[in-house]
């Protein structure tokens, strides 16, 4: 499944770029990341845990940076495995960084392949999880970029007002804007690209 979006961080691209590759920052950005270790210039290793609908997963992963153009482009492949659930995940990520008036526009595309028992859980769950993932990631990353002595705050999910409040509709994007100095815009044509992807993969 293809997930893509973009957001703006109020910092210089080269600063965002370096922050993005720092394992100390990354571990805080990646929801549920328990361990993260940089093995060499291009390789990371770590462990991630999460739970959704009574399903707990605990996956070890290895990430390899496959392409790097300072300060504008990062491409990486992550391979993870939850041995217990007999499931694997492969994420191919492409990140573009671009200087704009408002700061650095970060665009990303993730192709997520989830195989095994977890792959049957259904796309909605995976998508929903990745949305939260994305929310946290952006918030934490922007915090790290903006504040020099960065300490992680409570995650966004905890701050958020329950969505089912009477007469009050709080979209996640709106929540994001109000709680961190991040502007996020969903790229248009997202649906069309998804359809195109499915056509290709049939």
């Amino acid at each position: 499944m293809l997930i893509s979006s973009n957001f703006i961080i109020d910092a210089q691209p080269s600063h965002v770029f370096d922050t993005l590759l720092d394992p100390k920052v990354l571990i805080k950005c990646i929801q549920g990341c328990q361990e993260l270790e940089r093995l060499d210039e291009t390789h990371y290793r770590g462990r991630i845990t999460n739970e959704v609908a009574h399903v707990k997963f605990n996956a070890r992963f290895v990430a390899e940076i496959t392409e790097l153009k300072h300060p504008s482009y990062i491409q990486a492949v992550l391979n993870g495995e939850d041995r217990h659930l007999g499931s694997s995940i492969k994420v191919t990520i492409a990140l573009t960084l671009e200087q704009t008036e408002a700061g650095t526009a970060v665009g990303y595309q993730m192709e997520i392949a989830l195989w095994g028992k977890l792959g049957r859980l259904g796309e909605s769950i995976v998508r929903r999880r990745s949305l939260e993932f994305e929310r946290d990631f952006i918030a934490e990353l922007s915090r790290a970029c903006i504040q020099p002595e960065y300490t992680p705050g409570p995650t966004l999910a905890q701050q958020e007002v329950p969505a089912a409040k009477t007469g009050q509709i709080l979209a996640p994007q709106a929540a994001l804007q109000s709680s961190a100095s991040v502007v996020m815009s969903r790229r248009r044509g997202w649906f069309a690209r998804l359809v195109a992807f499915f056509r290709r993969s049939r």
Binding site: H54, R120, L121, E123, I125, P162, T166, F191, L194
Partner: protein
């Protein structure tokens, strides 16, 4: 491996069992749990089956409300004369759950605790303003249904909290109500969009339309629109406008975001049409 099933005979015992084991799960009708178990993806050390606890299987009527025990079957909510008469909206939504086999087995408590964003009954319960009563080793508390669904597959229940009953107000203010469920694939499937709505006429002739949507956002969502003095078309426009803002659908095998939004709009339109039909015109 199949988790062992514990069968406490009192609420206190059940609470103790749950407080002692972080990975124990409450077992209602088991219709949701058994599926996860069979798929081999459930992490539970034991099931605490609450069916032996006395008193959870009753439907009571008090002056202004109906109190439904958590172990009451969904089928009973569909067929019970009391519920049908005083809570026709709830009854209509319960009647739309799955198929008779599931409805006979699944429970009112398990249904709401399951917390799925597509469930039929919560949408009606949101419009009716139900309250969930939950008990744990720490004591009991009441959770207004608006605060119950916190996020995708996430409810306000803490571990060890047992839903003991749902209190549903019986309101004589309701002049019309309706539940609309639309599926995108098999007609018997989960909804891809659902809408419950009711018009409340309050003293002083204000008119409030309460609308809840299911399957269209990570949780069921509800809103109230004051339609006092509005013509039907004006009211419809106001409600639709609000409804569209509430939608944040998740794409899956049942349809993409745009399709589900569209289906959501149709569900709301159908709901409004039903309301206007059942309600004497101004």
């Amino acid at each position: 491996m199949n988790p062992p099933i514990l069968r406490p005979e009192s609420l206190a015992d059940a609470c103790t069992m749950l407080s002692l084991d972080e990975d124990a799960l409450i077992y209602g009708g088991g219709t949701a749990l058994q599926i996860l178990r069979k798929q081999g993806i459930l992490s539970a050390s034991s099931f605490v089956d609450i069916s032996q606890i006395p008193g959870l299987n009753e439907v009571h009527q008090t002056e202004n409300e109906i109190l439904v025990g958590s172990m009451v079957s969904i089928r009973r909510m569909e067929t019970d004369p009391l519920v049908r008469r005083y809570l026709s909206l709830a009854s209509a939504a319960y009647a739309k759950v799955a198929n008779p086999r599931v409805r006979n087995t699944a429970t009112v408590g398990g249904n709401i605790a399951h917390g799925d964003y597509r469930l039929d009954p919560p949408v009606a319960l949101l419009v009716l303003g139900a309250t969930i009563e939950a008990t744990s080793a720490e004591g009991s508390r009441r959770i207004p249904i608006e605060e119950f669904f916190v996020d995708f597959q996430l409810t306000a229940l803490d571990h060890g909290e047992i839903v003991t009953s749902i209190k549903i107000p019986v309101s004589s203010d309701i002049v019309a109500s309706t539940y609309v469920k639309l599926s995108s694939l098999s007609a018997n499937d989960w909804p891809s969009a659902s809408a419950a709505a009711a018009v409340f006429r309050r003293p002083g002739e204000t008119r409030i339309l309460r609308l809840a949507l299911g399957a269209l956002a990570p949780t069921p969502v509800v809103t109230s629109v004051d339609i006092t003095g509005l013509r039907k078309d004006q009211a419809a426009e106001a409600v639709l406008e609000r409804a569209i803002l509430m939608m944040d659908p998740l794409p899956d095998v049942r349809g993409g975001i745009e399709y589900k939004r569209n289906l959501g709009r149709v569900a709301v339109e159908d709901a409004l049409r039903n309301l206007w039909r059942d309600q004497p015109s101004d």
